[in-house]
Symmetry: none
Subunit: 287 residues, 2 copies
C-alpha cells in the first residue's frame, strides 16, 4: 500500500533542510487540513516561500502541488467516510491492539477523569500557596513519585526562592525539617503503595504547623487527613505499574500557573539563569 503523505514526510524528515522542516511541521501539525488551501496560503502559514513548498512536494514524490493536494484530499475523504471507526487509534502506523494505542487510550481516559473530578478551587488555592514566597516550600515524593517531585522542584527553583527538595527515599530527611515553621508549605506526592516514611514526614510537618499539600491517586493516601489541599489523580494503566501521567500533567500545570502568577519575578530569575548557563557553556550555542 502506498504511503500517506504523513508517512512520507516522517520518513524523509531527517533529510529535510531547515525551511523544509519548518514547513513539514506545519503540515503535520494540523494534518491534513493545512494543505488544502492554495500553495501560497500554505507557504504563508509556514512562513516559507512558495518555491520552498513547490520544491518540497516534489521531494516528497509528487509531480506538483496539485497532485500533493489531491493525495491529501483522498486521505481526508477516507477518514471521513470511516466516521468514528478509526478515531481511537492514536498511532496509525500500529494496529489498534498495539501497546502504544492501548496505553494511550488509558492515559487519555486518566487525564479526562482526573480533570473532570478536579476541584479547581483547590487547584487555585494550591497555586496561591506555591506562589507565596513568604512561605518556604518543601517538596517530596515516594519511591515512584520521587522523579515527579524532583521535576517540580527543578522548575519551582527557577520560579521562586526558598524551595527545597526532600529526599524521602533517604533516611536523613528529618534534617530537612529542622527549619520548618508554620508559615511554610510542604507538597507531597504519594500514591499507592503509600509509604510509611512519607506519612511520618507529613505528621511531623503537620505538628510543626506547616501547610500540607498532597497530590495523590484516586484512592487517596492516608496523608489526606492532614492535608490542607489535596488533588486526586487517576493512575490506572494496562501494565503492571500505574501511570503517573495525570500527576505529571497537574504538576506542569501548577508550574505554569505559579509562573504566570509571579511572572515579574520569574522573568528576571530566568534571565539570571540564562546568563549563568552562557558562562558555563552547558548548552550549544545555536538552535
Amino acid at each position: 500500500m502506498k504511503d500517506t503523505a504523513q508517512e512520507t514526510i516522517n520518513k524523509i524528515y531527517d533529510s529535510l533542510t531547515r525551511a523544509e522542516r519548518q514547513l513539514a511541521s506545519v503540515i503535520l501539525e494540523n494534518y491534513p487540513m493545512s494543505g488544502m488551501g492554495s500553495i501560497t496560503r500554505l507557504a504563508e502559514k509556514a512562513s516559507v516561500s512558495t518555491p520552498t513548498v513547490a520544491r518540497m512536494v516534489q521531494k516528497l514524490g509528487y509531480s506538483g502541488f496539485p497532485e500533493f493536494q489531491d493525495a491529501l484530499r483522498q486521505e481526508v475523504e477516507a477518514r471521513f467516510s470511516n466516521p468514528i471507526a478509526k478515531h481511537e487509534s492514536w498511532a496509525q502506523s500500529a494496529p489498534e491492539a498495539h501497546i502504544l494505542n492501548r496505553f494511550t487510550d488509558a492515559v487519555m481516559a486518566n487525564i479526562r477523569q482526573t480533570l473532570a473530578n478536579i476541584d479547581s478551587d483547590q487547584f487555585d488555592a494550591l497555586t496561591a500557596l506555591l506562589a507565596d514566597e513568604k512561605r518556604a516550600l518543601y517538596i517530596t515524593g515516594g519511591r515512584i513519585t520521587h522523579a515527579l517531585s524532583e521535576y517540580l522542584h527543578l522548575h519551582m527553583q527557577v520560579i521562586r526562592a526558598r524551595v527545597r527538595h526532600i529526599r524521602g527515599t533517604s533516611n536523613a530527611w528529618p534534617h530537612d525539617l529542622l527549619d520548618m515553621s508554620e508559615a511554610d508549605v510542604v507538597l507531597i506526592y504519594d500514591i499507592r503503595r503509600y509509604e510509611n516514611s512519607t506519612l511520618r514526614l507529613a505528621e511531623i510537618a503537620k505538628a510543626r504547623g506547616a501547610k500540607i499539600a498532597l497530590i495523590t491517586d484516586q484512592w487517596q493516601s492516608p496523608i489526606s487527613q492532614y492535608a490542607d489541599v489535596s488533588l486526586k489523580c487517576r493512575i490506572e494503566a494496562p501494565s503492571a505499574w500505574d501511570s503517573t501521567i495525570a500527576m505529571m500533567l497537574l504538576s506542569e500545570t501548577l508550574i505554569a500557573a505559579v509562573q504566570e502568577a509571579r511572572w515579574d519575578q520569574t522573568e528576571s530569575r530566568m534571565h539570571t539563569l540564562e546568563d549563568m548557563f552562557d558562562q558555563t557553556k552547558i548548552f550549544r550555542k545555536f538552535v
Copy 2:
C-alpha cells in the same frame, strides 16, 4: 452565528430547480468533502454543468466558488481538529480559559500529534533493544529530562538486570562509560536546549560501538545523527517551559511494552522486590 453551507442548502432546497437539487444532493451526500475539489470535478460528480454549479453557489449567498470552498474548508477544519471535541472543557469546575483547561488542551494535542507521527517500527525496535538483557542498558537525560530518565531507570531496574543511570548533570559521567561495549545500549533523553555534555556522551558511546536510542523533541537533538533509534515528541505548552508529558507517555509505554515482552523474568523479580519491601517495612501493611 453564520449558517453552515449545509444549513443554507437545506433552507433553500425547495426553491431549487431540478439540476440544482441534483447538485445539492451530491454536496450533502458526502458533505463537506465533495466540495473540496475543483468546480469541474464537483459538476461532473453531480452530472451537471459547471455553470449550474457557479449559479447555485451564488444562490447560496457566496460570491463565487472559491468563497464557497473556503467556507467548506473551515468547516472541515473545525471538525477535524477536534476529533475528541477539543472545545470541551476538561475541568468543568473552572472556566474555559482557566490554565487547567488551556494546559490540558495543549497536552492532549501534543499526545495526539506525537502518536500520530510516531514510527511504530522504531518503537518496537527500541522495545526489543531494551528487553534484551544481554545488552547492558545505560539511561541518561539532560537538565530538564533528568527526572524522566530517572523514572525510566527506576522501572527498568525492576524489569531487568544490568541497568545503569548516568547522571548527565554531574561531570563524573565518563566513569560510567568505562565498561561500555558494542553489545550495549544507551537511551538518551534530549530536548532543547540541547546540552553539550549530552552530545559528548553520545559521541563517546557511539565510538565505543554501543547502540544509541534517543527520545527527543520535534526539532530533534543533534544526537539524532548518531542514533540507531529515535522517537520524536511534541513538547509545546502555553507556558515559559516545555511540556514533557508526551515523553513521559512514551517512557511509560516503553516500560509496559518491555515488561510485557519479558513478563516471565519480570514477575519473579517483582516478587523478590516485594519480599524485600516487606522485610524493610517501607510500605504500610494495609491498602
